[in-house]
């Protein structure tokens, strides 16, 4: 369940509207508060002025009535004091007052006991108005000792004119109707200034009461009048009228405010008080009624005075609250509607963010911030779309390249020898190699092959990595194969490669190469180094093969490369590698280094490990060193171990002939006798005879071109399994193995000299080998005889 707070927080429109409405509420509050305060003040002042005016008017009217009574009394009392010698005239005077003032109720002219000795203890001339009929009587008697009455005694004791406290008469016919009477009493004095009695004029307070009660400045306001004893002489509540004083209820439940009002009124003060009268908050305006000692008050309920104001305030507040709510509602709606595109945008952006890049954003025609935002989003989406397309394209391209690279890698790997051991039938040579490219395709190469009892091998490292390097590597590999097909001198082979690579090397790439040609029958190694690391020789210990540095291939087209030579002894392992080995790096960018390589190889040399074991041992060592670090360069290694076998001779014969074709029959006999000794069949014997004759005739014809007399020696050896025939001469160096195969499609006449001969030799014999040693050409031909 969301709290209202959360409900508002979740919506910008609600938040915004609430802020606006709150702000408006504050402004309204301040403005209305000021207005209300001012109006309240004005209403209050108006009420005070109004009530005070009414009170003043009322008091004035009532006082003028009371004044009339006083004047009437004053107009009579001097007559009384002038006619004290005629007591009966008092009846006339008392009667005349009533006759002259029909609204007066009665008049007593009363004297001290025994004042008129002849009239006894009581003499009070009393007239009263009985519904227009004026009755006159002497009122004093034993039951009514008037001289103890308040009206009589008050004037006497105070020695001044005075109004009595109002009192009331009952009308027994009406059971409970009552009329209030008040008397104006004035002491009578004789000529000597001695008190002789009291003249008292009664007046019904009916009119006064009505006049005061009628003062009603507000619908629920009412007037009261209290006497000197606090008694209510005018009050709308009959329970209180005459029965209670203003203090009565404060005796039961103390009410200091009402008590204070009562005292103020009794003290003849004039003013206004705010207090609670009979449970109603009221404004009470009070004023004394002349010299009577009575006090009149108007009680105005606050709700009356401020009724209109409160009503207005309620309406205004209602309008404001409704207005604010409406405002909130309308603002919410307007802002929601204004923000609708934003919501839509948010939703659609969400959708886009989830990957639906094709989601169409609505085109907004507005020019405000939201419109701009919309345009920006559309622009962003377009850019994003474009970017994604490009990315997809690139990714696809990359994938395609990757797949091509995979193919290239496969091709590259397939170009290199993959089958190990490569020469399982041979006991004199064991070889193992591998290449571990840093990327899909490598820039390293290695290769080897056997030709005419010679092992051609190469290891190289193209500058750079990746595809370009692989390309150059492929080129180099192909050139190696091509160049070494008919050439056995490493320097020449490298030179050929270099000459081909250099002119087209626009990308300034180069390749370091170590190329070796090992003559298997003799263990004689010819090699040429083109800027590559020197191979290591493992022969009990680890030594470096002495190499001239030379420049790598691909730098100088006319670079002269030099062939070096050495002989491998039995059991020697030649270890070739690229810089991916010694420069292999671990995570701390520390290189593996030659020292570690040498250390690794020492046990291999001591234990006379085979090439495969050596390589695996080295790889393990490198892996331990590199750990998880990414391979930084291609790593290629090649190891070959030379173990020539013993030839167990059962037949060894030789024949030396001068280079004279006439001696050829001797050669034939020699071969036939050998064949006979070895028990060879006739066709084989004939073929071997033909091959040897071709080789020897070739020497006889071409070895000594300057006419110099020369010799040719033919050695025949057999171990029972094969027949080895070695043709030795000291003539011009000539390597028949270099000759390309004879083109047998040509006519006999068109064939070059000797070309067919060596073709025959190759065809007949199982293997041939040429070596030039000590300025002698040594051609070895081998035929398996069993």
């Amino acid at each position: 369940m969301n709290s209202p707070f959360q409900y508002i927080r979740k919506s910008l429109s609600r938040k915004l509207s609430l802020w606006i409405v709150l702000f408006a509420a504050v402004i309204f509050n301040v403005a209305l508060g000021f207005m209300f305060t001012q109006s309240l003040k004005a209403v209050r002042e108006e009420a005070i002025s109004r009530a005070t005016k009414e009170l003043d008017n009322t008091v004035l009217r009532v006082t003028s009535l009371l004044d009339r009574v006083e004047i009437a009394t004053n107009n009579t009392d001097w007559l009384v004091t002038r006619h004290l010698n005629t007591p009966d005239s008092m009846f006339v005077y008392s009667r005349r007052i009533l006759q002259n003032n029909p609204d007066l109720n009665g008049c007593s002219i009363a004297f001290e006991p025994y004042y008129f000795r002849d009239r006894g203890r009581y003499f009070s001339a009393y007239s009263f108005n009985d519904n227009g009929t004026i009755l006159t009587t002497q009122e004093g008697n034993d039951h009514y000792e008037y001289f103890y009455m308040d009206w009589y005694q008050t004037a006497k004791l105070l020695d001044r004119p005075v109004w009595t406290e109002p009192f009331f008469d009952f009308n027994p016919d009406d059971i409970y109707s009552k009329e209030m009477i008040a008397s104006f009493c004035k002491p009578l004095k004789d000529n000597a200034g001695e008190y002789i009695g009291t003249i008292s004029v009664d007046m019904s307070l009916k009119w006064l009461s009505e006049t005061i009660s009628a003062v009603k400045p507000y619908p629920n306001s009412y007037s009261i009048m209290i006497g000197e004893g606090g008694t209510f002489f005018v009050h709308p509540d009959p329970q209180k009228l005459l029965y209670q004083t203003i203090f009565t209820e404060t005796l039961a439940v103390p009410d200091p405010e009402v008590s204070a009002l009562g005292h103020a009124m009794l003290n003849g003060e004039e003013g206004m008080r705010e207090l609670e009268m009979d449970g109603v908050d009221s404004y009470v305006f009070y004023k004394p009624l002349g010299d009577t000692g009575w006090s009149v008050a108007i009680v105005c309920p606050e709700s009356d005075i401020f009724g209109g104001y409160q009503h207005l305030r309620r309406i205004v507040l209602f309008i404001v609250i409704i207005g604010l709510l409406l405002m909130f509602f309308v603002f919410s709606r307007v802002v929601t509607s204004e923000l609708k595109p934003l919501m839509l945008l948010a939703d659609q952006t969400d959708t886009i963010a989830k990957g639906s890049f094709d989601q169409l954003l609505p085109e907004d025609k507005r020019t405000d911030e939201i419109g701009r935002l919309n345009h920006s989003f559309i622009g962003m989406q377009k850019s994003l779309r474009k970017y994604i397309d490009q990315l997809q394209e690139t990714t696809a391209t990359k994938a395609s390249i990757e797949s091509e690279l995979k193919v290239a890698s496969t091709i590259q790997v397939s170009m290199l020898p993959r089958i190990f051991p490569p020469f399982p039938e041979r006991k004199d040579i064991d070889l193992y190699a591998n290449m571990k490219p840093a990327k899909e395709v490598g820039g390293d190469l290695f290769d080897f092959f056997l030709r005419d009892e010679k092992l051609f091998f190469i290891i190289g490292d193209v500058s750079g990595k990746g595809v370009p390097a692989a390309m150059l590597m492929a080129v180099t590999h192909s050139l190696f194969r091509a160049a070494s097909a008919h050439e056995s001198d490493p320097a020449i082979i490298i030179r050929n490669i270099n000459e081909t690579v250099c002119p087209d090397n626009s990308s300034s790439m180069f390749v370091t190469i170590f190329l070796g040609v090992l003559d298997l029958p003799t263990g004689h190694l010819r090699y040429c180094n083109a800027g590559h690391d020197s191979p290591l020789l493992l022969n009990g210990g680890v030594t470096e093969l002495k190499c001239l540095p030379n420049l790598p291939v691909g730098i100088l087209a006319d670079m002269k490369f030099v062939t070096q030579e050495c002989d491998l002894t039995y059991g020697t392992t030649l270890f070739l590698y690229t810089d991916g080995l010694n420069e292999a790096m671990n995570k701390d960018y520390e290189q593996f280094g030659m020292e570690r390589v040498t250390e690794l190889l020492k046990p291999c040399a001591e234990q006379e490990m085979g090439p495969r074991q050596v390589l695996e041992h080295v790889l393990d060592g490198v892996r331990d060193f590199v750990q998880d670090a990414e391979q930084s360069d291609d790593l290629t290694m090649l190891a070959l171990r030379y173990t020539p076998g013993e030839f167990a001779t059962i037949l060894s014969e030789r024949l030396t002939l001068s280079c004279d074709l006439a001696r050829v029959p001797e050669l034939n006999d020699f071969i036939m006798s050998i064949a006979e000794k070895l028990g060879m069949d006739a066709p084989t014997s004939a073929q071997v005879q033909l091959a040897v004759e071709e080789a020897v005739v070739n020497v006889m014809n071409y070895a000594y071109p300057d006419g110099r007399k020369g010799f040719v020696t033919i050695k025949a050896m057999s171990d029972g399994h094969e027949l080895r025939i070695v043709v030795i001469d000291s003539g011009t160096a000539f390597d028949p193995t270099k000759k390309e195969k004879a083109d047998v499609t040509l006519s006999f006449e068109d064939r070059p000299i000797g070309g067919l001969g060596i073709f025959l030799v190759r065809e007949i014999m199982d293997s041939i080998n040429y070596e030039r040693t000590d300025n002698r050409n040594i051609l070895t031909m081998i035929k398996n005889i069993k």
Binding site: Y148, T154, F170, T248, L266
Partner: protein
């Protein structure tokens, strides 16, 4: 509407103003009926207008205690022309209430009276002076006194303490004092005293003198009948006293209901008072009924108080000779 003007002589009378014609009819009725019904009916007239001062009798009437006692009691308040004592003298009423000193005065004047029930155990009279003025310092001051004839003790005290008050007789209210026409006034603690309070008058320990606290604690209200009547109707008197006492005891236990009954009488008699005043009066009357020493409602005359009152009144010549406890009681 015939609005009857009441002769002026009635206006300020303490008693309820009655219309003359009605009054005559009333008197005629009683004159004729009184003789015929005297045997059956018992008229009780309290000495003042209807107020809580007589609550016990109203209660006894309203709760049927009189009826239970086999009495047919009628409570008739005194009228303008007939004070309670004048009714007693004419045998129009059989019993009334009197203050002890009043009763002594009456006996001393030659009308033997018998106290058949004493309700008050304490004196309620006070002198109230203007604010801040101690009544005892106002030598020769004009002091209001009831024209109806209470205040014997005050007169004794004024002489005894050498205060020489000038007594101004007033009819029934405190208007003279309020108007400032007199310096001080006598008041009953349950009536005029509260009228002054109700008029906003400030009463303090300084300006109020309580007789009960200055060696004048003389019992006040009791129910009296003439000895002549009493001697013939002892059983009736006993029953009335018994039922009245029961009424007072009930009133003490049920002040709120009692107040309701009082207000009923007040309203019937159009007395210009109110419930608040009657409540205060009832409480004070009940307080006065408890003897200070025993702390109980004893309903008896105390011989010591009788003696004290009699001695004082004799000494200050309020009465000619001693009125004894025995004279007041059944003898």
């Amino acid at each position: 509407m015939s609005y009857a003007r009441i002769p002026r002589c009635f206006k300020d009378h303490p008693l309820k103003p009655f219309f003359v014609k009605k009054l005559i009819l009333f008197v005629l009725f009683f004159s004729a009926a009184a003789v015929a019904m005297a045997q059956e009916r018992f008229v009780f007239t309290p000495q003042w207008t209807a107020q809580a001062q007589f609550a016990g009798y109203y209660v006894a009437q309203e709760q049927g205690f009189y009826r239970d006692a086999g009495l047919e009691v009628e409570i008739v308040h005194p009228s303008l022309t007939q004070s309670a004592m004048s009714r007693i003298r004419r045998n129009e009423s059989q019993a009334t209430t009197l203050q002890l000193c009043q009763a002594m005065e009456i006996i001393d004047s030659g009308i033997p009276m018998v106290n058949i029930l004493q309700t008050s155990m304490n004196n309620a009279m006070v002198i109230v002076s203007r604010r801040g003025v101690d009544p005892l310092t106002q030598k020769g001051a004009r002091v209001g006194i009831w024209s109806a004839g209470f205040g014997q003790l005050a007169i004794c005290m004024s002489i005894k303490d050498g205060l020489d008050y000038e007594w101004i007789r007033f009819a029934n209210n405190v208007n003279l004092f309020i108007k400032g026409a007199i310096d001080a006034t006598l008041a009953m603690s349950y009536n005029e005293y509260y009228q002054l309070v109700q008029a906003g008058y400030e009463v303090t320990d300084t300006n109020v003198y309580r007789f009960c606290d200055h060696g004048y604690n003389v019992q006040e209200d009791g129910v009296y009948m003439t000895r002549e009547y009493y001697n013939k109707h002892k059983e009736q008197a006993r029953k009335f006293a018994e039922a009245s006492r029961r009424g007072w005891e009930w009133a003490a236990e049920h002040p709120e209901e009692t107040l309701d009954i009082v207000m009923k009488y007040v309203e019937e008699n159009h007395i210009a008072t109110n419930r608040v005043m009657q409540d205060l009066m009832l409480k004070d009357i009940l307080r006065l009924q408890t003897d200070r020493e025993s702390g109980e409602r004893e309903f008896r005359l105390r011989p010591d108080m009788v003696k004290m009152a009699s001695d004082l009144m004799v000494e200050y010549m309020m009465i000619d000779k001693e009125v004894t406890y025995e004279q007041l009681t059944e003898e």
